[in-house]
C-alpha cells in the first residue's frame, strides 16, 4: 500500500490535486491507516495518469468521470469510448473556429489603429467597438 505522497510522486501530481480529485469523485483511497492516513494501491497511480492524460486531451472532470465508469463497466464497448473521443475532438474544433474568428476580429481592430497617439476620444479601436455595439443593438431591435 502506498501513501498519498508516494502516489503523487509517481504520478507527478501534487497531493492537493489528489485530494481535489477525491472530492470530485475521481479517485478513492483503498483504505485508511490506523492513524487515518490515506493508503492506495498501484492502480491509483495508473488512474491518476489516466485522469491527467484525459485532461490534456480536453476532457472535463465530469467527462473523465464518465470515461472512468466506462473503463470499469464490462457492458461498455468500443463504440461508447470512440463516440466520446470524436465528440471531444468536435468540441475542440468548434472552439478553435470561434477563437480564430475572435483573432480575426482583433486583427481588423489592430489594423485600423493609426498609432499616432491620439486622445482616447479619437481612438479608432474604441470607436469601432462602440460602433459594433450600436450595430448589435440595431440588429436586436
Amino acid at each position: 500500500m502506498l501513501t498519498i505522497g508516494k502516489i503523487a510522486e509517481q504520478a507527478l501530481v501534487t497531493t492537493d490535486t489528489i485530494r481535489f480529485y477525491e472530492r470530485e469523485g475521481l479517485i478513492r483511497p483503498a483504505r485508511k491507516s490506523e492513524s487515518g492516513y490515506r493508503l492506495y494501491t498501484e492502480e491509483a497511480v495508473r488512474r491518476l495518469g489516466f485522469i491527467k492524460h484525459a485532461q490534456e486531451c480536453g476532457f472535463s472532470l465530469a467527462e473523465i468521470r464518465e470515461l472512468l465508469e466506462l473503463r470499469s463497466d464490462d457492458a461498455s464497448c468500443c463504440d461508447d469510448i470512440y463516440k466520446l473521443a470524436v465528440e471531444k475532438k468536435l468540441q475542440l474544433e468548434t472552439k478553435v473556429k470561434a477563437l480564430k474568428a475572435m483573432s480575426q476580429a482583433l486583427s481588423s481592430l489592430i489594423e485600423i489603429c493609426s498609432r499616432d497617439r491620439r486622445s482616447l476620444d479619437e481612438c479608432p479601436i474604441l470607436g469601432a467597438l462602440e460602433a459594433g455595439i450600436a450595430q448589435q443593438r440595431r440588429n436586436d431591435k
Binding site: 470512440y82 463516440k83 470524436v86 465528440e87 468536435l90 474544433e93 468548434t94 473556429k97
Partner: protein, 87 residues
C-alpha cells in the same frame, strides 16, 4: 426546392443509428421531393460540423444552419419541418 436536412453522427454508434432511423422516417414520410435527408459522418466532415457550431453527435442542420444542437425527438423534428414547409 426540397428542404435540406443533415444529421450528424459518429458511425458505429448503435444508439445513434436507432435514433437516426426514427428521424429519417419523419423526413421520408413528408416526401423526398419536399425533404432531402443526408447522413453526415462527423469524423469525415469535422470542419463543416465545427463551422456550424455543432458540439455533439445527433445534432441536425436544416438548410445549412444548426437547428437542433442535440438529438431532437421525432415529434420536434416533424413540427419544425412542417412549419418550414408551410412557411
Amino acid at each position: 426546392m426540397a428542404i435540406k436536412v443533415e444529421m450528424f453522427s459518429v458511425p458505429g454508434c448503435g444508439k445513434c443509428a436507432e435514433a437516426k432511423e426514427a428521424l429519417k422516417t419523419v423526413a421520408e414520410d413528408l416526401g423526398a421531393d419536399k425533404v432531402a435527408w443526408r447522413d453526415v459522418d462527423i469524423l469525415e466532415e469535422m470542419d463543416y460540423a465545427a463551422e456550424l457550431g455543432l458540439m455533439s453527435s445527433g445534432g441536425i442542420a436544416i438548410d445549412g444552419r444548426l437547428v437542433f444542437p442535440r438529438l431532437p425527438s421525432a415529434g420536434k423534428l416533424r413540427e419544425e419541418l412542417i412549419r418550414r414547409l408551410k412557411g
